[in-house]
Amino acid sequence: MTAIDASYAGTAAGNFRTCRYTGLKVDSAAQTLIKANAVAAVIFLAVGGLMGLLVALTRWPAVHLLPSEWFYLILTGHGANVLLFWIIFFEIAILYFASAVLLGSRLATPRIAWAAFVLMIVGAVMTNIAVFQGDSSVMFTSYPPMQAAPHFYLGLIVFAVGALVAVGVFFGTLVIAHGERTYEGSIPLVTFGALTAAIIAVFTLASGAIILVPTFLWSVGLISEMDPLLYKVIWWGMGHSSQQINVAAHVSVWYAIGALTIGAKPLSEKVSRSAFLLYILFLQLASAHHLLADPGMSASWKIVNTSYLMYLAVLGSMIHGLTVPGALEAAQRRNGYTKGAFEWLRKAPWGNPAFAGMFLSLVMFGFIGGISGVVLGTEQLNLLMHNTIYVPGHFHGTVVTGTTLAFMAMTYYVLPLIFQRDIIWPKLARIQPYLFGLGAAGISLFMMGAGTLGVPRRHWDMSFTDAILQFELPSGGFLMMGLNGLSAVVASAGGILYILITVGTVLWGKRLDRGEAPLTFPLHKRAATVAEYGSHATVKLPGTIILVTIFFVSFVLYYFVNWKYLSELWLMR
């Protein structure tokens, strides 16, 4: 490790520095593009997160903040900004990091990468303008025959094309790194996880372009009508698969943070890569979950896609659910924490927001988002919760407690290693992941509870005040929605803290590109394993086995409790 970052001209067009903390070669073009995409991501998170708070405060019956027109407008903007723009901008930053930085390579075609970035910004801004103009309140799914303004669809198309080009830059960088032999053997596991995300992204963005182009033509009058079912099938190829990019990306982030904070190596490269391969093959098929209640699709199509084959992707997630905590335990035991089953966990760096955020993300993604996803994906059980607020409860468990929290955790290393600024307000940074995680978990669980009681999703007024056919939901549903609102306030406090720490660090954080300054949240001495191929190869993991057993028991119990609910609804005598 050098005392001061060393800059030097690298191979071909690359211009590199050596990171003093990790020893990694960082291409300056990649570094600037990572910064740009990360900043854009945080801006869209701020906008979309604020919109999410407004949605939750409106669905809180005692507050009921927004009038109906504004509610649907804000709900549309919330979905687009956080589910697409925040996540995909950050994922592009991860792709550039996992390719150029981890492989020590120059980034392929930086100018094209900038063009991709500009397209993504133009598309995201255009869609936001359409939403705020008020005639595109079609919500994130934008199902026909509801019609938005043409520039709503055009913005999404332009964004998707930009993201697709950026994914192409990632593949190009892999080719360059391989051709210029910047690494030996196989790519590191974190890069392989990013490759998985990139492959899913190609399917996702292509599906989006395929369906949004005719929808745009329909909105300008060149096509007379859109088939709603056809739209749903292809749109969900984008809508759900975009969340599968997240899964692959945040699992990579888990492995990366494990390596950076405690020097964790994968238990088995082969096993973890095989789990990612299951994602590549089958994860996108989960899109069919959204059509389980649609009469036009056959039971065979639904069950093959969401059960038989999708369960292989679930198997992939369960493998990661074993290997990630297993890798952490193995590393901690090697670091000297060998007493009993859980000393490794008790003495983990819980005061490091990157580790804390990663571990909370791992646990909550599995217990909340993962288990509920399998329940929702079972054709029969889906009838219990279809189109209730259980569905947003589930995907807040995956996208917010899982992906967003993992990406927030990663930011605590993106800032010092890429922006070369030390984290400001370390005391607040330490509590940020707990605050956000607690709120996000509450949002997910209370929405799922309300949905189980029948509270509909996307509905402005759950009391159905002016409805011709009156319906009274159980009082527990109102309580759950109130608790959901409170949880959203807590999560928003964590989100605002994240934005303030991030922006404050970029603007005023101590510069790390000169002098001998140590990091506020230090890296492990074996942090460079993040860019290496190699397995820890141990199975002596009593703590992990106990944790995984608890997970399995919870999974089985919850799954069968839902079958019990279903049996009480069906009149079988």
């Binding site: 998985t196 492959i199 099938v233 082969k270 590549i280 899109s287």
Partner: protein
């Protein structure tokens, strides 16, 4: 045991699974093809086969 170069080459032969995992473009191909066939193409064929209401 032998030092014959052919057998050495055979010993160092990369397993098929490893070759698959080390080939990003083959992974890209199967990662696009499987969901396109099973989800999109099969789904669109089902919709196309729904009879039109009289």
């Amino acid at each position: 045991m032998t030092d014959h170069p052919e057998s050495k080459e055979r010993q160092e032969k990369v397993p098929a699974m490893q070759q698959l995992l080390d080939n990003p473009f083959l992974l890209l191909f199967i990662g696009i093809t499987v969901p396109t066939v099973l989800y999109i193409v099969w789904g669109v064929m089902e919709i196309a086969s729904i009879p039109i209401a009289p």
